[in-house]
Symmetry: C2
Subunit: 741 residues, 2 copies
C-alpha cells in the first residue's frame, strides 16, 4: 500500500488499534500539531443537518480556519460567485486564569488529547497547561451541535486550577465580523445583552438573509458566586463571567448558542429571542440526553459494522458520520456541498458528487433525506432551464456547480497560483454536462428503491423528461458518419477536456432518453391524467417522444467487440501512453507533474469514466467486457492523487472482477480525510469519497444486488474481515445483512 501514515491521527489510530470497543467510535489526537490544525479542524467537524462547524479551538489560534456554515445561507463573493457565509460562531471562548489569557501559543502544554466521539457526535478536548507565569490548569472542553434541536449548540469547559487559587474569567461572544478566508459577509442589524444572555442580529450583505444568534453563558463553582458583565461592543456582544476559584476546585462554564435564519420562516429575531428565554433554565444533561437519543436512532439506521479491521471500521463510521452531519433535514431547498459543511473547498457548491456518490447512502438508509435532496433539483429546474436556453438548448441543463438558486456558479476564471498576473480558465461550468443525466439517474434509482410514486409523479418525472429533452437538443448530427454525437465536452475524467463522444456522457445521455420514454409509457398507462397534465405543461408532444427514439438509435456509443474495450472518448487510444508504475513512489498528481496541457495529451486518467459507467449501468456489459476494461483503464488511472471520487468506485469494480486491489482502493478512500493523503483535507471532507466508501462496503465487499427475487449479497470480504453487517431500507422495508466469514 502506498498510503503513508505520517499524520498524528494515523499514529493515534495505530495506538488504539490494540484497544477494545469504544475506540471504534472515536477519532483521537493525543498531541497538538500547530502545522496540522487545518486538517484537525476538518476531521473534528460537528454538524446536525442544519449547520456544520469545523473543529477550531474555543480560544483563537493563529492561522486557524474557524467556520460555521448554515445550510442555504449563501452570499456573493468574487471569483466563486457565491459561497456559504461563515456565521458568527458558537465556539468562541476566551479564558482568563488569574489574569493570564489561556493561549496555546504561549506557556507549555503539559498534556493534550482531543477526541471526536462518532456515536455521541461530540468533541472533547482534555489538556493541562502551564501558563507563562507557571500556573497549571486542567481544562476539559466538550461540545455538541444538537441533533434533537438543530438550532441549539452547546459548549462546556471545566477548569481546575491545579497549583493556584484565583479568579477564573470566561468571555463568550457573538462575532458579527467573522469572515470567509478574509472576506466578510455580514451586515449588522442589532444586538443586546442582558444578565447572562446576548443576541446579535445580522444579514448577509448581498443576498440579504437574516440571521439571529442568541447566546447564554453560565459559570458555576460550588459554593462561590459568579459575576457577569455585559460587554456591548458593536457587532461583537460579549458576556464575561468570573468566579474566584479555589486551588483544585473545578469551575464549569457552559455556553449555549441558538441560531435562527429567515430561511426557516418569518422574523428570525423573534424566534431567537423566544428560544433565548429558555436557555438559562436548560441543563446540560437533558440537552445531551435528547441529542444522544437522536444520534442513537441515526446509527440504528446507518451503522456499518466491520469486524477484524478496526481501522476500516473506524474510517467507515467516520465517513458515515460526516455525511449524517451534513445532510439537510426537512429542507428541500438546499443540497450538500462537495466538502459537506466542513470547509471552504468549492465554497459549499454541490456537484454530481451528491447524486452519484452520496445519495445511495441516503436512499438506502434515510430515504426522506434523499427525497429532499432530489426535490432541491426539482425546485431548481428554472435555473437548469435557463442554462439550457442560454446555451441554445431545450429542456433542463443542470449547472455543474449549484448553490442557493440553481444557477451555474462554477467560477469561469481563477487566479494562477504560480503567476499572480495570470488567470486559469475553468471549463467545467461550460462543458462538463454529464451531471444532467446523473441527476436523472439518481431520480430513477430513488424511485426504484422507494417506490415513492408521489415524488415521481410530481417531481421526478419532470426532471427525467426535461433532462432527456436537453440531451435530444444537445446531440449533433455527423452527416459523413451518419450518427449523432456529443462533442467538445469534459467527462468525469477531468484530465481531458474538450473531447468528443465521451463514452460515459453519451451512454448516460442515451440511458436518460430511454428512461424518459419508459417513464412516459408508465405514466400514460398508470397515471394518464397526471401524464396529460404534465405533458401539456411541458408542451411535450408525441412527435418529440418519437424524435427521442431516433436519438437513442443514432447516438454514437463507442465499443470495440474485438478488444471488448469501450474507448473513453474518440481518439483516446492515440494519446500518449505513460507507464504510471514506473513513476512510483509519486507524491503529487500526474496533472501537477505534466501540467494541465501536458496531461491532456496522455492516456492518464483522473478517474476511470468507463468503469464508472459500468458500475452505474451493469446490465449493458458482460463480465468479459468489464474485466477487459478494468484491466485496461486501471493501469492508466492516477489512483493516489487523481480524483478523490475514483478509489471507492475502483474498489467496487475490483470486487466485481475479483481483483486483489479492492482493499487497497477501499482503504485509499477510507483514509482520504483521516490521513490527509491528498494534503487537502484542510479544505473540508471529501463528501463523494465518504459516500463512495459506503457504496464500496455495500455494493463492493457485500456485493449487494437487486434481483427479481429481492436483494441478494455476493460477499467478497477482505480476507481479514470476520464480519460485515448493515441494514438497508427498500420500499419502506428494513433488510438486515450480517455477513461473516
Amino acid at each position: 500500500m502506498t498510503v503513508s501514515a505520517e499524520s498524528p491521527l494515523s499514529m493515534d489510530i495505530g495506538e488504539e488499534r490494540v484497544g477494545a470497543g469504544p475506540s471504534e467510535w472515536s477519532i483521537t489526537e493525543t498531541s497538538f500539531h500547530p502545522d496540522k490544525i487545518h486538517h484537525s479542524e476538518t476531521i473534528f467537524t460537528l454538524g446536525n443537518g442544519y449547520l456544520g462547524t469545523r473543529g477550531a479551538f474555543e480560544e483563537a489560534y493563529p492561522d486557524e480556519v474557524r467556520s460555521t456554515f448554515l445550510h442555504g445561507v449563501f452570499d456573493d463573493v468574487p471569483v466563486f460567485f457565491t459561497e456559504l457565509a461563515n456565521a458568527p460562531d458558537w465556539l468562541e471562548m476566551e479564558i482568563c486564569l488569574a489574569d493570564e489569557r489561556f493561549d496555546l501559543a504561549e506557556g507549555i502544554l503539559l498534556e493534550f488529547s482531543r477526541s471526536l466521539n462518532l456515536k455521541t457526535a461530540s468533541l472533547r478536548r482534555d489538556l493541562r497547561w502551564r501558563s507563562p507565569l507557571g500556573r497549571e490548569t486542567h481544562l476539559v472542553f466538550e461540545r455538541f451541535a444538537s441533533l434533537a434541536d438543530p438550532h441549539l449548540c452547546a459548549l462546556r469547559v471545566t477548569i481546575t486550577p491545579e497549583n493556584y487559587a484565583g479568579s477564573i474569567q470566561i468571555r463568550a461572544g457573538l462575532n458579527g465580523e467573522v469572515d470567509n478566508l478574509a472576506f466578510k459577509h455580514w451586515d449588522w442589524l442589532g444586538q443586546a445583552l442582558q444578565a447572562q444572555t446576548a443576541w446579535l442580529h445580522s444579514r448577509t450583505h448581498s443576498t440579504g438573509i437574516e440571521l439571529a444568534t442568541g447566546l447564554c453563558l453560565c459559570l458555576n463553582a460550588a459554593g462561590r458566586e459568579s459575576s457577569y458583565e455585559q460587554w456591548d461592543v458593536h457587532n461583537h456582544p460579549t458576556l464575561a463571567a468570573a468566579v474566584d476559584a479555589r486551588k483544585g476546585q473545578a469551575v464549569s462554564g457552559t455556553k449555549w448558542i441558538t441560531y435562527y435564519t429567515a430561511r426557516e420562516g418569518e422574523n428570525p429575531l423573534r424566534r431567537c429571542l423566544d428560544a433565548l428565554q429558555a436557555l438559562p433554565e436548560l441543563d446540560w444533561d437533558s440537552a445531551w440526553e435528547s441529542h444522544q437519543r437522536a444520534w442513537e436512532a441515526e446509527w440504528e439506521r446507518s451503522d456499518v459494522i466491520i469486524e477484524g479491521d478496526e481501522e476500516a471500521q473506524k474510517a467507515v463510521r467516520f465517513n458515515i458520520f460526516q455525511l449524517l452531519c451534513a445532510a439537510p433535514r426537512g429542507d428541500e431547498h438546499v443540497n450538500i456541498g462537495a466538502k459537506l459543511l466542513s470547509g471552504y473547498g468549492y465554497r459549499g457548491h454541490s456537484f454530481w458528487d451528491t447524486e452519484i456518490f452520496m445519495l445511495p447512502f441516503f436512499i438506502y438508509t434515510h430515504p426522506e433525506i434523499a427525497h429532499d435532496l432530489l426535490s432541491y433539483r426539482w425546485h431548481n429546474l428554472p435555473g437548469a432551464r435557463a442554462k439550457a436556453s442560454a446555451n441554445g438548448f431545450s429542456g433542463a441543463q443542470y449547472p455543474w456547480e449549484s448553490a442557493g438558486t440553481g444557477e451555474e456558479v462554477t467560477p469561469t476564471w481563477v487566479p494562477d497560483p504560480d503567476d499572480r498576473t495570470k488567470l486559469i480558465r475553468i471549463w467545467t461550468g461550460d462543458i462538463e454536462i454529464h451531471i444532467s443525466a446523473d441527476i436523472a439517474y439518481a431520480v430513477w434509482q430513488y424511485w426504484q428503491s422507494t417506490g415513492d410514486e408521489a415524488f415521481l409523479l410530481e417531481r421526478g418525472a419532470e426532471i427525467i423528461l426535461e433532462t432527456a429533452r436537453f440531451w435530444s437538443s444537445r446531440v449533433e448530427w455527423n452527416a459523413s458518419l451518419e450518427r449523432l454525437e456529443i462533442n467538445d465536452i469534459v467527462g468525469p475524467d477531468e484530465y481531458h477536456d474538450h473531447v468528443n463522444n465521451n463514452a460515459y456522457t453519451n451512454t448516460l445521455a442515451r440511458w436518460n432518453l430511454e428512461t424518459a420514454l419508459q417513464a412516459a409509457a408508465w405514466l400514460k398507462q398508470e397515471h394518464s391524467r397526471e401524464w396529460q397534465r404534465l405533458s401539456q405543461r411541458l408542451v411535450l408532444k408525441e412527435a418529440e417522444l418519437s424524435r427521442w427514439e431516433k436519438v437513442i438509435d443514432q447516438i454514437y456509443v463507442p465499443f470495440d467487440p474485438h478488444t471488448n474495450l469501450v474507448e473513453q472518448f474518440e481518439g483516446f487510444y492515440q494519446r500518449k501512453k505513460i507507464d504510471l508504475a514506473a513513476l512510483e513512489p509519486r507524491h503529487e498528481s500526474m496533472q501537477a507533474i505534466l501540467g494541465i496541457e501536458g496531461i491532456n495529451d496522455t492516456q492518464v486518467l483522473k478517474q476511470a469514466d468507463v468503469l464508472m459507467l459500468m458500475y452505474l449501468l451493469p446490465g449493458l456489459y458482460d463480465s468479459a467486457v468489464v474485466k477487459a476494461n478494468f484491466d485496461y483503464y486501471s493501469r492508466r488511472t492516477d489512483h493516489s492523487f487523481g480524483s478523490s471520487l475514483g478509489p471507492s468506485i475502483q474498489a467496487i469494480m475490483a470486487c466485481r472482477v475479483n481483483d486483489d486491489s479492492a482493499y487497497e482502493q477501499f482503504m485509499r478512500a477510507a483514509r482520504t480525510d483521516l490521513y490527509d493523503v491528498r494534503s487537502n483535507a484542510g479544505d473540508g471532507i471529501h463528501g463523494a469519497s465518504a459516500g463512495g466508501l459506503w457504496q464500496a462496503a455495500v455494493f463492493g465487499f457485500a456485493g449487494l444486488e437487486r434481483t427479481p427475487a429481492g436483494w441478494q449479497s455476493h460477499p467478497r470480504l477482505p480476507s481479514h474481515w470476520t464480519r460485515l453487517a448493515f441494514r438497508i431500507v427498500d420500499h419502506g422495508r428494513v433488510i438486515d445483512f450480517d455477513l461473516k466469514q
Copy 2:
C-alpha cells in the same frame, strides 16, 4: 457651464457665498443625506501626511465606507495585487444616552451641520437628536489628526441632554477586524486594557507589517464622577466610560489614539506603549494648539488667495488641503496614491499623477516633500529595472501603478460589472509606458527649481540615465521608413490603446534621452569623480551615449507644417469624427456611451495628449502651433466625463491661447470632488485634479514663467477675480506674487 449644482455641498457653498471671511476656509453640509454618505466621507477626509481618515461618522452607519490608511502599509489583495490596509480606526465611538444607543438611522435628526475647517484641519459635527423614546440631546463632535505629532489623533464629543437626566455612556474601541470593502487584512498579535487606556497589536496578513494602536478615553462632567469599564473582547478591546448627567449639563468625552508601525522603526508596540502612558495627561487645548501652529506654517507656504470668487477660493484651498493631508513627511519609501489617502479608488497605488500633476505644487511650496517623493522612485529603481528586464528592455521601466515595492501592480484583469462571468483586460500595466519619461521629467523640474545638487548627483541623474536607457532599448527600427518608432502603446489619452507613435510618448522619450545626455555632460564637466563612479556602476559607456544621440535623431515625432498639427498617434486622422457638441447635455462618458472598442475607433479623447505635451515642453512649439492644436483637439475631448486629469491642463492651455474656456475648465477641475461631478468622488479625492488646479492658478491664470531674468507672471485672471496671490520657493528663495485687477 455644464456643472450641475445638485449636491448638498454645492447648496451650502451657495448659501455661504454671501458670508464673510471664515467660510472661505470651511466646507459645510447643513443637512444629512444618507444616499450621499460616501461623497461626504471623501470630502471630509482628514490627514497629516502619516495617515488619512475618511469622514465617516463616529457611530456606525449602514453602508458606510470607514477607512484609515497609513502610508506604506500595503497588504496583498486579490485582483489589485496590493492595497493600503484599512487600519483599526480612531473614530469608532458608540454613545448610549440613558440606555438608548445614539444612531442616525433611528429617531429624528432635529438639527445637523458638519463642517471641515481647512485652516485648522479639523472636522466638527453639530447636531440635535431626538431618540425613539423622545430624549433630545445636543451633540458636538470634533476631530483632528495632529500635524504636530503625526502618530496622534484626537476626537472629542460634547453631549448635552436637553430634556432629561440620565447615564451617558461612551464606548471607544480598537477594532482589529476592520476590512477593505469586506476584505480583512489584520492578524491579531495582542491587546490589553487598563483603567482609561487600551492597546491593540496587529500585523498585516501577507506583508507582515506590524501596527500598534493605543487608545485613551476621558469622560468629564463637572462635579460628577465618571466610571470606566474595560471590555477585553478579542481583537476589539473597548473602553466604556459612563457618568450620570444632569439635564442641561454638558458632558465631554475625549478619545486619543496613537499609531505606530514597524515602518518607522523597531518595536512599534514599545513606542506605542510609551506614547500611551502620556495620553491620560494630555489636554485637548495644548494638543490642538500644536496642531494649529503646524497648519499655520503649512498655509503660510501654500495658500493661494483668490478675491472676487469665493467658490474658486474655497475649492482651491480644499484641493491644496487634501494634497497637504496626503503628502508623506520625512518618508522616502512611500508615494501618494491617485486618490490620496481618502478612498479605495486605485487601492492606494501611485501613477504619473504624482510626478506630473501633484509634484509641481510640492516643488514650489514644499521642496522637501518633492525630494522624498522623487527619492521613492529612486529607491524603487530595482523594481523598474526588473520590469524592463522582464520585458526584454534595458534600464528602468517604471510600473504604471506602483505601491510598496515598486513592482508593477496594475491589475491585469478586472471583473466585468455587466456580466459576472466575464473579465476585462487592463492593458495600462503592459503598455502605458510614458510614465518612465514623466518621472525623469519631474526629476529635472525639481533640479531646475531647487538646484538640489546632492539629489541630482546621488539619485536624480541615475533615474534620468536609466529611463533614457530604457527608451533607447524600447524604440523599434522601421526599415522601410528609415526611422525609429515606439509602437503598440497607450498614451495619456486612454480611450485609444495599442496605438503606434504616440506624439506625447515619442516626444517625451526623445526629451528623456536629450536630458540624459545633458545631465551626463554636466556631470562630466562639474562632477567628474561622481560621473566616473556612476557610469561605472551603471556600466554606461560612451558608445551607449552615442547610440542615444542617434536615437534622438531618428525617433519619429509627427508634425505637419502645413496644418501646424501634431497627430496624436499614427492614423488618428483616419478615426471616426464625432460631433461632441451635438451630444450635449451628456451625463456619462463617451466611453460609457460607445463602449471600450467603440471609442477606440473614434477621434474622441479622454484627455488631450498633444496639449499636455505642449504644456510640458513649451519651448518646442510656437504660439501658432499651440493655437492650431488647441482648436483641433479641444473640440475632440470629452472634457466633462473623460479623464479628471484633463480640465486643469486644458485651463492652462486655454490661458496660453487666450481662449474663453479657461475659467470653465478651471472650475470643472475645482468642482471634481466638492460637487462630485463625475459621480465617483466616493472612491476618493482626485489627486491629479487637485494638483492640476494649483498649476492652473499659478501657471495658467497667473501665467508664471521662468525666464533668464527670473520668474515672471503674465496674468490672465478671470474677469471677476480681483486678486490672485500666492508664493513659491525657488532655489530656497521665497517669491511672493500678488496680482490684482
